[in-house]
Each structure stands twice: as C-alpha cells, then as structure tokens.
Symmetry: C2
Subunit: 298 residues, 2 copies
C-alpha cells in the first residue's frame, strides 16, 4: 500500500498512525484532524504523519482512508469527499456499531465508491492522541463486515491490513455484529454509566459522601463510565434497536434477582451466582482479560 | 494485645493472620477453620498461626475474636461460643452489611458479651487462604460500627487494632453503613452478576459465541461477578431493604436512558454521560483506584 489517510487523530487514529509507521505498512500517512487542541498535541508528540489542511489532498493521494472520528461526523465528511474521491480508493472506519451508520453511508456516499467497514475491539476510557500507542490493536479482535454489497477485493485487502496492524480478524455481517456488541460492549457501557449516575443520585438524596467508599465495587464501573461521551452517544443512538432489547432482558433479570433477594430464595440466587462465575474463567482462557486478581492493581 | 482468634481463614482471615504476625500485633494467633481444603492449604502455606480443633481453646485464650466467615455462619458459631465466652473478650467481624446480622447477634449472643462490628473495605474476586496477603487492608477504609449499645472501650481498642493493621478507620452507625455500601458495593456486585447472566442468556438465544468478544466492556464486569457466591448471597439477603431501594432507582434511571436512546434525545443523554465522567476523577483523587488507563492492564 502506498498512502493512508487517517481522518480523526484521537486515541484510535493516533494508534494507527504509530503502528502503520512502525511496521512500515504504508509509505506515507496523512492526518486530517479538525480539533485545534488535538492538532497541537499531534505536533508536540511528533507523530509520524503529515498533517493536511485540505481534505482533498489527502483523499486523492491515498489508497486507503480510515475514518477514526465519532460516527456522527461521517455524513458531513462524506458530503465533502464525494467531490474528489476516486473509485479505486478503499474506505474503512473503526466505528463500534454498523447497521444505522451503514444506512448513512449508503444514503450519502457517491455511487460507485466502496466503504468496507471495520471494528477493532480496542479502546480505553481515555481519549486523545497523547494516549494512543502502537500496540493498541495487537492481539485484539478486528471485526470486518461483509454484507450483500461489500466489495470483496477491498475486504481481502483490509483483512490483510488489519493483520499487519497486529489484530486477529473475523468476518461477519452488520446484523450479527450489532447484536453481539450490543451485549458485550454497548450494554456494559450503558450499565456502567447508569450505575455511576444512580450513585450520584443517591449521594444527593442521602447527603453522604459515598464516592469516598467506592473501592467496594463502584470504582470499577467508574472507569468505563469515564469513556468519551460523543462516541458513546453515537453508539447508543446507532444501535438503539438491539440496545433496547438488551436493556429489556437486563431489567427482566434484575427483577428476578430482586425477587430472589426479597424472598430469600437461596436455591435460585445461588444458581445465578455460581453460573455467572464460570464466564470469568472462560474470558481469561480466551485471553480477553488478564488473570491477575483485582486486575493486578496492587 | 495477647492473643487473637481468627474464625474462618479464607482471603480476609488469612490476610489478617499474615498482617498480625508481621506487625507483631498479637503474641499468639489461633486459627479456627472448618473447611478441610482450606486447612490443607493453611498448613502448606505455613501461615504463622496455631490451628485449633477445639473452638473452646481458642475462645477462652483470646483477647480478640475476629469472625471472618460468611455471615450465615454467625448464628451457629454464636450458639457454640456462648458456652465458654468471657465478658472481657472482644469480638468483631469483617461482614459487609450490618443491620440484619446485628439482629442475629443481638438475638443469640449471650447477655453481657460485646460484639463490636467492623467492615474493612478490602476483598477480591478470588477466595481462599492462598490468595491472602499481609497488605490487603493497607490504606483501605475500615468502617467501625457505633450503635446505641456499642461498648465504647472495645470500640476504641478495635479502632487502634485496625490502625495497626494499616487501615484508615471511620466510625458510623449500622443504618448509615448499610445505606452507603448498598450503593458503592452491593448494587455494583448485583449489577455485575446480572450483566453476566444477561450475556449468558443472550448467548443461548442468539447461538453466537459472545464471550469471545468480551474485551469491549463485559470482561470488567466478569471480574466482580466471579466473587464468592456464599458471601454475596449473605450480603444481598442481609441488606435486602436498602438493596431493593437501590435496584428501584437503578431501573428508573435505566428506563430514562432507554427513553433518551429511543428518542435520540441528544441534550438529555449527553448531560448524563458527561456528569458520570466526573466521578472517575474524584475516585482517583480520593485514591480509591489507580489512575492508569484500562487499569494498567497492558
């Protein structure tokens, strides 16, 4: 591959810049970034890419364009690049949900142009180019989307691109992707936000300093609930049908727990508590988390 | 203090044994443990305490007795020690909820005997003496309970005991304690169990391997949901009135999130997502968690 254009150079974008440069995956890396504060950071960090002011320059000179902005930015950017994008250019993104955003892409992207979607399962509660690192994607899953109209040549090239980046790749359709991640990622984030919100509400009601005693469990959720709000608003809105179903099942199960607790139903509650324990072992075995107790905090 | 008796030598009990010995807080440490598998581990680990087979020997020869068993064991043990416990002996425990278990203690403990309650905010998803460590309580909060009938002399001595153990102490009544920890600890655990349970249910419904992709958030909850089931059943049952209130507020807030998502209410959802973010900064500032992104996993 000759040149790559990274649109949006925050945590994910800057990690890609670092990795592409380190592994010499492209000859030249163009960076298009709107935020002045991010631009200042990128310059200070001396990231190995060429900052471009004109989107056109980057688009016409690149073989691959990677959107690393919040999904709500896609439409505006599509309308801009439509004026000069060439059919041979590959486009992808790192967005965390696919059905609704694919509708936007289909509706607004110029006919004959292909956008093949990616979702690297990597991120953090921190944002911005200063937190990026070249091994962010290493050994992580990257889901590639194959729908009816996917350009198979681009899919193949992208698959090889993400492997060079260090990810393990898997191909599935948008429907399956959005169902899976509504459970393994979107619901957990929503729940974490909701738990922290509830703790804040209780703090007001009780007039106690609760946060001081958050080491008993709340602190873990606060990490996830510190994630970027624009990105997560976009995901919640984009995948709302699946997330709604996930919330409904979650509430149904929570009410069942509440009933067990109210009735002190020993057998029923122990069955639940023992069953959920097994998942941790599975997650560690699948190398989805480290095996140190308490995340090895101490 | 001359001698201490630790009843129940799992994660917390064995950590106390290690710390008391290391800091020479007592002359002699007696260990009373029922589980054969734990006993074998304690011997193999060569923990610095004397294993006793007769509870009486430990009780009559100790100045301080610390219950480190699940709360559901208290009644049975109280009925045993009633036969030989002396009024000068201090009793405490490490139980995570106080109102209901205090009723059991009040109802069954022999008149004239004082049990002053403690709750060190320390633990982990792993159980058993092999996971204990001498610094488990270091710089952690330990809540001491002061109710109407609390023996103030014992309270003072216990306060000094926990400080020697390395904890920061705070005194409050059972009501306040159980309210605070229903939010900062009990609800988060219940939510984590419920999230993992919901993911398991979805896995069955969808027939997809979800767990494989748990690095997007679910993995964090699985850690907490791997905690000891007997201990947590006891806590949920013991503090059921406050936990019920916490669940109700949690569901109310979750429904409000669901509504925001359904209606794509930008202003309302962003307000929530931004507000919750502040808690993380507060938690880090209060040294309730480490400040490394992603818990410093990588």
């Amino acid at each position: 591959m000759k040149n790559v254009l990274i649109i949006g150079c925050g945590l994910l974008g800057s990690s890609l810049v670092r990795r592409i440069s380190k592994k010499k995956i492209a000859q030249k890396i163009f960076i298009y970034e709107k935020s002045k504060s991010n631009l200042a950071k990128i310059k200070k960090l001396k990231l190995p890419g060429t900052i471009i002011k004109s989107l056109k320059d980057g688009v016409v000179n690149s073989d691959l364009i990677i959107f690393c902005t919040p999904m709500s930015e896609y439409k505006k950017l599509i309308l801009k690049i439509n004026n000069f994008i060439l059919p041979r250019t590959m486009i992808t993104d790192v967005g965390s949900s696919k059905i609704d955003s694919s509708r936007i892409i289909k509706k607004f992207l110029k006919k004959g142009i292909h956008w093949t979607r990616s979702h690297p399962i990597a991120g953090s509660e921190v944002s911005g180019p200063e937190h990026g690192k070249d091994d962010l994607f290493k050994d992580k899953w990257c889901v590639l989307i194959k729908d009816k109209k996917t350009n198979l040549k681009h899919l193949k090239l992208l698959n090889s691109f993400w492997k060079k980046v260090g990810s393990k790749t898997v191909i599935m359709n948008s429907e399956k992707h959005d169902k899976i991640f509504s459970i393994t990622s979107h619901l957990p984030h929503l729940i974490a936000y909701n738990l922290v919100k509830s703790a804040q509400d209780f703090e007001k009601i009780l007039k106690f300093n609760l946060i001081k005693y958050s080491a008993g469990g709340l602190r873990d959720f606060s990490r996830i609930a510190a994630s970027n709000e624009i990105m997560w608003r976009d995901i919640f809105f984009d995948n709302k049908v699946n997330i709604k179903k996930a919330i409904d099942l979650f509430i149904k199960n929570l009410k069942s727990f509440k009933k067990d607790i109210h009735k002190k139903n020993n057998k029923s509650i122990l069955k639940k508590l023992v069953q959920t324990k097994k998942v941790r072992t599975k997650i560690i075995k699948l190398k989805q988390d480290i095996d140190k107790p308490d995340f090895g905090r101490d």
